[in-house]
């Protein structure tokens, strides 16, 4: 397989996990209750753990001597290829759990398909991530139900979150040239084939949460490096340490 295609496919996946992991980490010390103050960073750490292995692997495939830190911290904004869903601001707690529920439900299917990948590292990450993901789906799904079917205010906030995130759902299942080639090469799943199952899994949870589903035309761009304005602020925060103290380690 072409190394640059292999690299691109891995970095997309790593970016999804690191950027969303970073967003979740913003809750650390700010969650509405102590229990969630631990639960959300726990999920963030799962995502960052997955991202680290993927960046490390991508760096070796690329063969230009870039390590995980250089890939994670020292690229320019346009070089990040994460889904726009992952970079959206955290919003309120309901917004955060709904986004996480959407993404975890997607990744649950994605990792499951990745068990057939011809990349051994990807199969190994999948084996670990499937269990982590199952918990993320359960935890965030339970919150979606309780907040959606909760008080008038929590219901309204969840319904707002459904509307806010609706344009970013479609990008998860969008196939561009890189994803076509990656899927044809047997590296990554064909995400367009995951859409129906995803909707079938998410719909009953939203229904139980008494939330109305909204379908709108998807906004694309993350996979080609075209990000929302919030991304620059996120990267400033994320990259500050490596840019101020180059090559620092913990």
């Amino acid at each position: 397989m072409d190394a640059s295609l292999h690299f691109d496919c891995l970095v997309r996946l790593a970016d999804d996990h690191m950027i969303l992991g970073h967003r979740l980490s913003e809750w650390c010390g700010h969650a509405p209750m102590l229990e969630e103050d631990l639960a959300l960073p726990n999920i963030a750490l799962d995502l960052l753990g997955q991202a680290r292995i993927l960046y490390d692997h991508a760096g070796k495939i690329e063969g230009k001597g870039r390590n995980e830190d250089q890939l994670a911290y020292l690229r320019l904004e346009r070089d990040y290829r994460n889904l726009l869903l992952c970079e959206r601001p955290i919003g309120d707690f309901g917004h955060t759990v709904l986004r996480q529920f959407y993404f975890a439900s997607f990744m649950g299917l994605y990792w499951s398909e990745c068990q057939n990948s011809n990349d051994q590292i990807l199969r190994e990450v999948a084996a670990k991530a499937i269990k982590e993901c199952a918990y993320h789906i359960r935890h965030t799904g339970e919150w979606v139900i309780r907040l959606g079917d909760g008080t008038d205010e929590s219901h309204q906030r969840m319904q707002n979150a459904v509307a806010d995130l609706a344009p970013y759902v479609g990008e998860m299942f969008h196939m561009d040239e890189t994803s076509q080639q990656g899927a044809s090469a047997g590296l990554i799943p064909d995400v367009s084939k995951l859409a129906a199952t995803w909707h079938a899994q998410v719909a009953p949870v939203l229904a139980e949460a008494t939330l109305e589903t909204i379908e709108v035309k998807p906004i694309l761009g993350g996979r080609s490096g075209q990000h929302g304005e919030e991304m620059g602020f996120l990267l400033t925060d994320l990259q500050f340490m490596q840019r101020t103290f180059p090559n620092m380690t913990w």
Partner: protein, 96 residues
């Protein structure tokens, strides 16, 4: 923090390994039993402490009255013969 007061308190019991008893390890707030189990997993088993979790509504626990401490517990203090320390344990028994 008035909202917090409306969220029930739960007591958490963790069994560290198969064959051991569940032990009380702390408490937490959660809206219901499902969420309490998840919170217990996140709060108390982050470092691989558990094989099994129980959660019990704190409301359901009946506690002894601290003012009855004397009649409940002090009467035992001079009954050292209730401790099985007067037996000689044969070596073959090993650790007890």
């Amino acid at each position: 923090m008035n909202d917090q007061q409306e969220i029930p308190l739960w007591e958490v019991f963790i069994r560290p390994r198969n064959g051991l008893a569940h032990r009380h390890c702390g408490s937490l707030h959660a809206a219901d039993a499902t969420m309490a189990l998840q919170a217990a997993r996140d709060v108390y088993t982050r470092r691989g402490e558990g094989q099994s979790i129980w959660v019990v509504p704190s409301m359901q626990i009946t506690a002894s009255d601290p003012t009855q401490k004397g009649e409940n517990f002090e009467a035992q203090e001079d009954k050292i013969y209730r401790h099985p320390t007067f037996y000689e344990v044969p070596d073959e028994v090993g650790h007890m």
